[in-house]
Symmetry: C2
Subunit: 457 residues, 2 copies
Amino acid sequence: MKQVLDYIEDNSTKFVEELREYIGFKSISAQPEYKDDTVECAHWLADKCKSLGLDTYIFETSGNPIVVATTRKKTAEDKPHVMIYGHYDVQPPDPLELWESPPFEPRINNGAIYGRGASDNKGQNWVYVKMCEAFMATGSLPCDITFLFEGEEEVGSEHLPEFLRTHRDMFDCDVAIVSDTAMPERNVPALTYGLRGIAALEVEVIGPSRDLHSGIYGGSIENPGMALCKMLSELRDSDGRVSVPGFYDDVLPLTPFEREQFSRLPFDEAAYKELLGVSSLFGEKGFSPWEQRTARPTIEINGITCGYQGEGSKTIIPSRASAKLSCRLVPNQQPELILSKLEDFLKRIRPPGVQLRILKGHQGNPYMFQPDSAYAKAAVRAIERTFSKEAVFTREGGSIPIVNDFKKVLDVDTLLIPLALPDDNHHSPNEKFDLECFRKGLKMGVLLMDEIRGIDA
Amino acid sequence: MKQVLDYIEDNSTKFVEELREYIGFKSISAQPEYKDDTVECAHWLADKCKSLGLDTYIFETSGNPIVVATTRKKTAEDKPHVMIYGHYDVQPPDPLELWESPPFEPRINNGAIYGRGASDNKGQNWVYVKMCEAFMATGSLPCDITFLFEGEEEVGSEHLPEFLRTHRDMFDCDVAIVSDTAMPERNVPALTYGLRGIAALEVEVIGPSRDLHSGIYGGSIENPGMALCKMLSELRDSDGRVSVPGFYDDVLPLTPFEREQFSRLPFDEAAYKELLGVSSLFGEKGFSPWEQRTARPTIEINGITCGYQGEGSKTIIPSRASAKLSCRLVPNQQPELILSKLEDFLKRIRPPGVQLRILKGHQGNPYMFQPDSAYAKAAVRAIERTFSKEAVFTREGGSIPIVNDFKKVLDVDTLLIPLALPDDNHHSPNEKFDLECFRKGLKMGVLLMDEIRGIDA
């Protein structure tokens, strides 16, 4: 192990230089004009894996290529098999004018590397490639590793689930690892054991066949905007609880262990309010903000469209009013079932005189693995050995839908190991990846392989 | 009188031909590119008045010209002085593709003349010019008449109130006449004795300083869209009554006489629902649709803007949510006072965790004159003599703000005499003016002058 860690120490400058090259690719999956750059990035990544001696494949899809690289031979040794997932595509860099240096010309400053994709997700997956190199250059890996890199994460991973199903054997592993979440704070190492799911729905209230003069007709028919407001206002009570009947039926209550973990997470209310620009917080009664935003379900209005929205006024009764809604879900809520309950409720509370049109939107399951499983314990030990500090268990409020496919198709848990910091500006200008996080990540990766090997021993 | 009415009979074809010319002008006040056409229309109208022997003036404003034409001499005779108001500007004709013939090439079909402005308001004011001609060609007028024609009614009559104040003496009259409302139905002659007022307000709910990721932050702060819906939903109860405290304080209750009049108005619920394209009606409990839309105050949502409104979904907590509201007011509600009560109420029901910004908008007083005044009775007699049918008293739900200025500046009531039909398509494609209404209007005008003369006798 010492040799491996020494190799990392000796080569850290080279690793960062390579990461700089990686971030330099404009692999913006949302923008078709960067298709060539994205494909080029996939090939660069495949070449790097190949040069380490990994069996490397580029799978074309009707979207962006999937890169697979593995140490695993047909004549399998008696080693655990670990799948490591990452994505090489990035968010668009807009608004460009807010960047302090060009997003695709990475710059090192104040102990961090800046650039689009620096930590979401190039930096966080580069850690594992380099961990692999350190083992292979100094001996051999304690586990077999198969890397799975996709180029469509930022646009919904359209082709990955089908790819997993058709190439199931390749990923017949013991556990998956994903570093695509954030630590609660610098120096607060954590293991993310849960993610929220999502269920989106659009509701349209349909009134008169055209916008009507509010003077001539106002008072004699229902206003679709008012009908929509009345309905939406009934979705949540003043205690912050969702009022849709049965909404909480399948919610796993937080265990005493979980609540104890959450209570250990740092939280500076004043700083949080300032970060968001709000004067006070609001959430479900009886839960802390950490619990509210990661382990409790929500219903949010994402947008409302109704009537006249220009300058000045137009005194109409609008013909239509519509809202985009989405629920964040927690285990064991099922998106399809939640949407049905929501739809039933909206239909039931529809005011007289208007019609409804309801359109169910995208869905993603919540995710959770047992924090006391053997693999979770191995991850915690690797994290604690790296940081010389007790790790906390966290859940995240966002979604990484593909981990549900890992569970469903491959029947494995995914260890979510955050290496990013909460201020790394994912999806925002001046994205960065902290170089201390990069170094700690490398060490954690090495120790994690060792710990996982230990499980089978 | 017979001579006057015979003149009308003999010249009706000529009158309609002239009206066709009048409608041909593209006097669209809202569109600056038609400024020349609008000014040309004012000059055409002034020339027509002059040719009758009226003292005619064109007053330039920083907007469109005001045309004044009068029979009144400095050495005033002992005659009643009647002011007749009309506007020569028209609404834009869009959407053009829905017109069955070009909007400014008037066409006679099925007993009506079609074209933009046909009844709003060219046809309805042309009636009075021609009534005047009939008297002057056959003898003399029983009353002095001063015509006031403006060219900015469709854009808010910006310059007229100030013009009235500075030229007060010119309009020192006994009563004003405006034909710019609609009969309840063909063959249901009416006198409109009330109009609703208006008070507009914009409310903005301010949440976080930027749109936030609903996964990462959702559950821990108030959603401005939800806060707005909760507030708006409290503005009106399920009985259709406005819930703002004190909103009804100054509302004049409907008298038994008024309710009896309203009950005589024709109302076909099925036809009304079909006209508006709604499956059922909704309004303040205890009042008929006629009462609800003309004699009871309302609060309407004219528009809502919040968050993401494009295709698909964007899972954000929107930073802002705003709504445009307007109240239709009835006597004796005061717009400024109503807006203050509304503002106070919104501030009081603001949910925690969001800020409010409230912007008061335009205001117009409600209007009503006593239906049993001498002038109202004279109008009713003229209407009944023309239609050989009892007239009904109606109120209208819309607003004609200038009539409040006639009251305030000139201290006169305005007789609102509807000559248009409810299906004349004001502000819509295929606007028309019924030629029977035109002929009846001419006769009514003649008889009205006679009746008004009788009041002073």
